[in-house]
Symmetry: C2
Subunit: 517 residues, 2 copies
């Protein structure tokens, strides 16, 4: 019932996209596009035979080589009880065990937002866009590259709230390095909760910070609600090749036991952390992802979990990762096929680039991950906007440019309207050979919503564009980012809840000395 | 037999891509990538039901409204004899007639180049990239926007010859406005024939210029060879909605009768020249394209012909066409499905953009047509590199940036290597958990060809990039364009053939006064 409502709501509101953008521009409360509901069929890059080979290879490696679960006696105990052959920290997984354990994970779930209109469906034909995650630097609106601050963090939360096609507030939209490392998660989670009413992600840098996130979610949503529903989605990277480390395992266990979602993502620079080939990388991704996904179900059967893949390719010249190249796109499409095979929501993609500026390299590279992500049927797309410089920089300008692309992809994914109005037979009859459609009834009735309207692209004549200052894309984006920040108004939060959150944060901050490493 | 050789040749040489680029950089004769052979399945955006509806609607309109064939008594006569109901210049086409006539068109054909190693296969799983077509302006290497000259034309032919992933020399790579309009086609065709040995396109601006193109091709290839083989592919746009004009019909007839290929392309700004909806536009595309394709078969059954679609969307704000938006991408994917349904090669796509500079807008918009073009299984991709400003400008810098993307798409389309080497099981076994693949045997054996290497993207550290001058993508592309032009050496042409071509051009130029309109 929930799903059907969400879908039809999605369909209805998607057509309000232009209105939402207008409203956003004119300073009223921003309307959001709902999560994407895809009508395009997914692209299968692997043949049925290739799927069988890679799965069999992964089975062999999981049994023969195994996966290391480091510094976590509880994890080893759970695996031993589940039937794995544990030698030291090496967990050897009998063929098929992970696939069997993964069956209790939901194929689709709702992540609740404090504003129910912003709830998102994760899985199935849906795609949820979430902002850039993790950069220690920003490229600010004065064009300066510098360390990120809490002020920047709050700004990116505001931008994500204002952007119509951003469905999620994300997590570490940038790393606020001016706040002690052991306390910043409290300010980050509070920013998501107070400056936005979109769903958000939790801290994973230590088990106690994950626990703080859950505690704050309980204050916001109520303890019972949190135990029954997903209100936080958090990012758990595997340590490739074939290692789960104590920090990640700690966070994973906290969230899974609290019935909150984790995104299990092998984080791979191909050629360094996996073989240089696509099939080899996919085999390793399968070992890492399925073992950790199975482990979430050992922690709490039924806990929501997302099959994730983050793959790039190393530049054999510079040793740096290269983004937007074909091989990681192939890994993405292949991993997506396995996620579908296992009935799991899938995370990948984003507007990834190694470029230092939001220029042609940045856009081409970003498009080269956005497209396969949409085609692969990604359900949760982290880094969907704002990423620059291989993930070292959150860019205000690129955030705005990317969000425009997300709105276009959302329209693309909605498919072709085959209604009578869509077929337009009367229009073609009325206009006839050698005439034009500019003033006809059908055009006038449909033009406001017929085409995606970009807010950063310039389609004027050369002369008009020159007259307006011959602006580059990023200059237009800069003005929009300033406008969104100026227009942002925090959505109403119950003052009692707000006070309780603040009290919790004060108490936690007072309980420990500042730490900066 | 020919096809099999071409494909296996393609497979072998595709792996030489990095070597080709190295060779191109180091000043030796440039090696080309062969045409693309796609391993990815095409994306079907239309359901079987949607296909039936649109085809039935097109059938209704072709019979009821008809298509105008203007100022061409021979065309009307041919249609009347074929069973159409001709009223004045309006050709009413009985249901199914065009589909029946189209059956004599080949589903795939070879376009021969004067160097047989550069022959291209048009149709089936193959994609051929061809340069930008038509702009009266260039943005030159000094960053100046100005009218194009014959010197620019020759430069773009040289760039297309040097670019490894450009399989075709194209046609009007820019409009050389310094040469009289009634004589420039001779210089253009000669530039393609002498400065390159890749296949090329012919003139369509008047029937006698098409005839000059065929005559020059006969001098180059021999009369009998030309009558039996396709050596020129030429662009015939429909005059949407629902009109074929005398100029285009004249060129079409010359080429079809000479057994040369035409690309039949409805050229549509959606909302102006077709309905504002995707399904309505597809219906009109089907009427226009299938009627003109059928007409080529009336001129000469078996003449090679390509189903083309060029669609964009009008900006209801400025009246200018917008590029890289979702709706034209949907039209492209839908039209591609119909081309497959009718067993015809398909033309669409290109690096299309309305941007004035090769910036983020240019790249994002271009990617948003390149991706659906590859997914839709486009066989002949005109405008694959160099297009700027809605087709008004050929850009040297964007040409180079786009060619890098084409090489990436070619690698993407090749699919996943599932050989034992691709599976990399021994590498994963040898490396094991917690280690890395940087120095292992498998990496060393494969790293030179494993990943697409961009020649314009910067993947160095921020510090290194700053040290090297903090260059934008277009600055790197500028240097490469200069290098390619400096390195270009015209491929050997038989001096007797060259003299015969020059004599023909002299004779034709002397036969008429200069005309500039």
């Amino acid at each position: 019932m929930d799903k059907i409502e969400a879908t039809s709501e999605g369909g209805r509101r998607a057509r309000g996209g232009a209105a939402a953008r207008r409203q956003a521009r004119t300073g009223q409360k921003p309307l959001s596009l709902p999560f994407v509901t895809r009508k395009l069929p997914p692209t299968d890059i692997l043949s049925a035979e290739a799927i069988e080979i890679i799965e069999a290879n992964a089975d062999t490696l999981m049994e023969e080589i195994g996966v290391e679960y480091r510094e976590d006696a509880e994890a080893l105990k759970l695996w031993r009880e589940a039937g794995a052959d544990v030698k030291g920290e090496r967990v050897h997984l009998p063929k098929g065990l992970c696939r069997k354990l993964m069956q209790t994970a939901p194929r689709q779930f709702t992540q609740h937002a404090r504003n129910p209109a912003r709830n998102v469906e994760i899985g199935g034909p849906h795609t949820v866009f979430a902002p850039v995650y993790g950069p220690p630097f920003v490229r600010d609106l004065e064009g300066k590259r510098r360390y990120a601050t809490l002020e920047d963090f709050r700004n990116f939360v505001k931008l994500a709230y204002m952007a119509p096609a951003m469905h999620h507030s994300g997590g570490t939209v940038c790393e606020p390095v001016d706040v002690p490392v052991n306390k910043r998660h409290l300010d980050m989670v509070y920013a998501h909760m107070s400056l936005s009413d979109k769903p958000f992600m939790g801290s994973v840098t230590a088990p106690e910070r994950a626990a703080d996130t859950v505690r704050m979610a309980q204050i916001l949503f109520g303890e019972e609600f949190v135990d029954r529903n997903c209100v936080v989605t958090s990012l758990v990277n595997c340590n490739s090749p074939m290692v789960m480390d104590a920090t990640m395992l700690g966070a994973l266990k906290v969230y899974a036991k609290a019935n909150q979602a984790t995104v299990i993502s092998p984080f791979i620079v191909g050629g360094a952390m996996s073989p240089v080939t696509v099939a080899g990388t996919l085999t390793q991704v399968l070992c890492e992802a399925t073992s950790a996904i199975a482990f979430t179900q050992l922690c709490r059967p039924g806990a929501p979990v997302i099959f994730g893949t983050f793959a790039t390719a190393i530049s054999m010249q510079s040793g740096a990762p290269a983004f937007g190249t074909p091989e990681p796109a192939q890994v993405l499409l292949g991993a997506a096929q396995f996620a579908r095979r296992y009935n799991l929501p899938f995370r990948s993609g984003g507007a990834l680039t190694g470029a230092k500026l939001p220029d042609a390299q940045a856009a081409y590279e970003s498009a080269n991950t956005l497209w396969p992500a949409m085609l692969g049927g990604v359900n949760f797309m982290l880094h969907a906007a704002g990423w620059l410089e291989g993930g070292l920089v959150s860019s205000y300008e690129k955030f705005v440019i990317d969000c425009d692309q997300l709105a276009a992809h959302q329209k693309m994914a909605a498919g072709v309207d085959m209604s009578e109005n869509g077929q337009a037979m009367d229009a073609i009859r009325a206009v006839g050979p050698g005439s034009h459609y500019l003033g006809c009834d059908h055009t006038r009735a449909n033009f406001q919503t017929a085409f995606h309207v970009s807010n950063v692209a310039d389609n004027n004549s050369f002369e008009q564009w020159e007259l307006e200052g011959a602006k580059r894309t990023e200059q237009k984006a800069n003005a929009i980012a300033r406008e969104w920040l100026a227009m942002h108004e925090a959505p109403m939060l119950d003052p009692a809840v707000d006070e309780a959150l603040k009290a919790f944060i004060r108490q936690r901050k007072d309980s420990m000395p500042d730490a900066f490493t």
